[in-house]
């Protein structure tokens, strides 16, 4: 069973590795986008799916990564891989600075604080025009790096999924879940809940920071509205809720399912898209609050590694 799963994963990895050689330009770009969603949804799952602390502003890490990367590329002439690493570091720093006060807030207050954070960052970025280009945005020098960015984003998605696997099969991951289940009991059992939350939060901010820098390089142009949209956070949340929060493959499944639906429907019926999205949110919350894999896991006692 385990061997079959590993073989399947290896085959999938190989197929995705050689895909750019055979795929169409559109196909490669679509896969790159999908990788990004897997990385973003998986990251949100690490903090919110496990600890139950709903981050309503997770796109903030993406936006900060995007601006860090873009500014380093444009103003300092950094190569994009180094800028991507810097984007991840920016995510970590922001998570520490924000997590330190905000993770002491309980549940809904944390969610609101994160929502506010994203709006504040967007305003700040618009204000410091000299550095960020303000509302008119920041254009990156032209460079065709779609293939290497495809691999970088793919590696990032794989890394997030791998880290989720490691976390979920460890006692650290179980302890994160105790925070979701009953934070008071967790404290009384000797679990330093604040330290656990902060670690998970920092861990969940790395990939969005890197993804932001990669996306900025890939798109060649960023502006405050394009990298700090609330809709991106919502999409991450819906993907994880649909696939199954607190599972390894739930965010992947959710990202694939929603991305495919989005591409298929959006292309043909642009006005139906938001409607469909809203319908999915309502349906998931009402019919299967644990998501597809969460439901299967609870019903059939699947291992945590699913």
């Amino acid at each position: 069973m385990k061997r079959a799963a590993l073989l399947l994963l290896a085959a999938l990895g190989l197929a995705l590795t050689v895909y750019p050689l055979y795929g169409t330009g559109y196909g490669v770009r679509a896969m790159l986008q999908l990788f990004m969603w897997v990385a973003l949804a998986g990251s949100w799952n690490l903090i919110s799916g496990l600890t139950g602390y709903v981050s309503f502003g997770h796109v903030a890490f993406f936006g900060v990564g995007a601006y860090t990367g873009a500014i380093l590329i444009v103003r300092a002439g950094w190569p994009w891989p180094a800028a991507a690493v810097a984007g991840g570091l920016a995510g970590i720093l922001l998570a520490l600075a924000i997590g330190w006060p905000c993770l002491r807030l309980k549940g809904p207050y944390f969610a609101i604080a994160m929502l506010g954070l994203n709006e504040v960052l967007r305003a700040l970025v618009s204000y410091f025009e000299g550095l960020t280009g303000g509302g008119s945005g920041l254009s990156l020098p032209t460079l065709d790096a779609t293939f290497p960015i495809y691999y970088a984003m793919g590696g990032l998605a794989a890394a997030v999924t791998g880290v989720t696997y490691l976390v979920l099969t460890s006692r650290f991951g179980l302890r994160l879940m105790t925070i979701r289940e009953d934070e008071v009991a967790a404290e009384a059992m000797g679990i330093d809940t604040f330290r656990h939350k902060l670690l998970a939060f920092v861990l969940s901010a790395v990939a969005p920071g890197i993804a932001g820098a990669l996306a900025a390089r890939d798109q060649g142009y960023i502006e405050p509205i394009s990298v700090f949209p609330l809709a991106t956070t919502i999409t991450m949340i819906v993907m994880v809720l649909f696939g199954g929060k607190g599972t390894v493959w739930g965010p992947v499944l959710g990202a694939v399912a929603l991305f495919v639906a989005q591409e298929a429907v959006w292309a043909r019926y642009p006005y139906v898209h938001p409607l469909l999205f809203g319908a999915i949110i309502v349906a998931v919350v009402l019919l299967m609050p644990r998501g597809v894999l969460g439901l299967l896991q609870l019903r059939y006692r699947l291992p945590r590694a699913i």
Partner: protein
């Protein structure tokens, strides 16, 4: 025996205008079983919460094995060796029975799993180790919570109404387990409304009423104490 494990001195805690614990002082010695009784709202659970750090006391001192613990966060107090169960069960429902115990430990995982299995066998939940805690019966969840407390091998165990909702057979096992702990030199401090349990188990009983300690003594003496009868039944 005889060394003080827990010393509480002038502990006070109010919520708004309500004084829940009003200047309580008491001392617990190692290797004994203590009871805490009193009418509803007399401050028993608040006293437990102040000891374990879940509530911050307004005044007074709490010493555990001679070290001040009031003001420390709950997880630090737990790690020093004070374990507790809750009046309203607080297992982790979407973790399995085994995982409920495993989360408490760090370090060698194999050793932790062995210990968790032993404790589950001790409370006769070993068959249900892979069941989600939320699917267990009320009594089973209570036993699971008890086993979880023991994972850290605490010196002092606070039990908030361990007998409530547990059937006779399970209860007798639980009481045997509590005595076994005492025989290992642990101190047990329990809140309980079931007087049979209190009288049969505890060596010394404290009585709270309106946040004040109104009596302390062996069960037989307490049962005959006029102030205690008055607190429970009125004048």
């Amino acid at each position: 025996m005889g060394a003080p494990v827990l010393e509480i001195d002038g502990l006070r805690k109010s919520f708004g205008g309500v004084t829940a614990v009003n200047g309580v002082s008491l001392t617990l010695e190692a290797g004994r079983i203590y009871g805490l009784i009193g009418p509803n709202g007399s401050g028993k659970t608040t006293l437990f919460n102040c000891i374990t750090g879940l509530e911050r006391r307004d005044a007074g001192r709490v010493l555990f094995q001679g070290v001040r613990i009031d003001g420390l966060p709950p997880h630090r107090i737990a790690r020093m060796g004070i374990g507790r169960t809750f009046q309203i069960i607080r297992v982790f429902p979407e973790l399995t029975a085994l995982e409920n115990l495993l989360v408490v430990t760090s370090g060698d995982r194999a050793a932790a799993e062995r210990r968790a299995q032993e404790l589950l066998a001790f409370v006769r939940l070993d068959r249900l180790k892979d069941e989600y805690a939320g699917n267990l019966s009320y009594g089973q969840q209570k036993l699971l919570e008890f086993a979880r407390v023991l994972m850290r091998d605490p010196m002092l165990v606070l039990l908030d109404e361990p007998a409530a909702g547990v059937n006779r057979t399970l209860l007798n096992e639980l009481l045997d387990a509590v005595r076994a702990l005492r025989d290992q030199g642990k101190t047990i401090f329990l809140v309980e409304h079931d007087m049979k349990v209190v009288m049969g188990l505890c060596e010394l009983v404290f009585v709270l009423d309106h946040g004040e300690k109104i009596a302390e003594g062996p069960p037989g003496v307490i049962q005959a104490d006029e102030r205690v009868i008055e607190a429970y039944f009125g004048r």
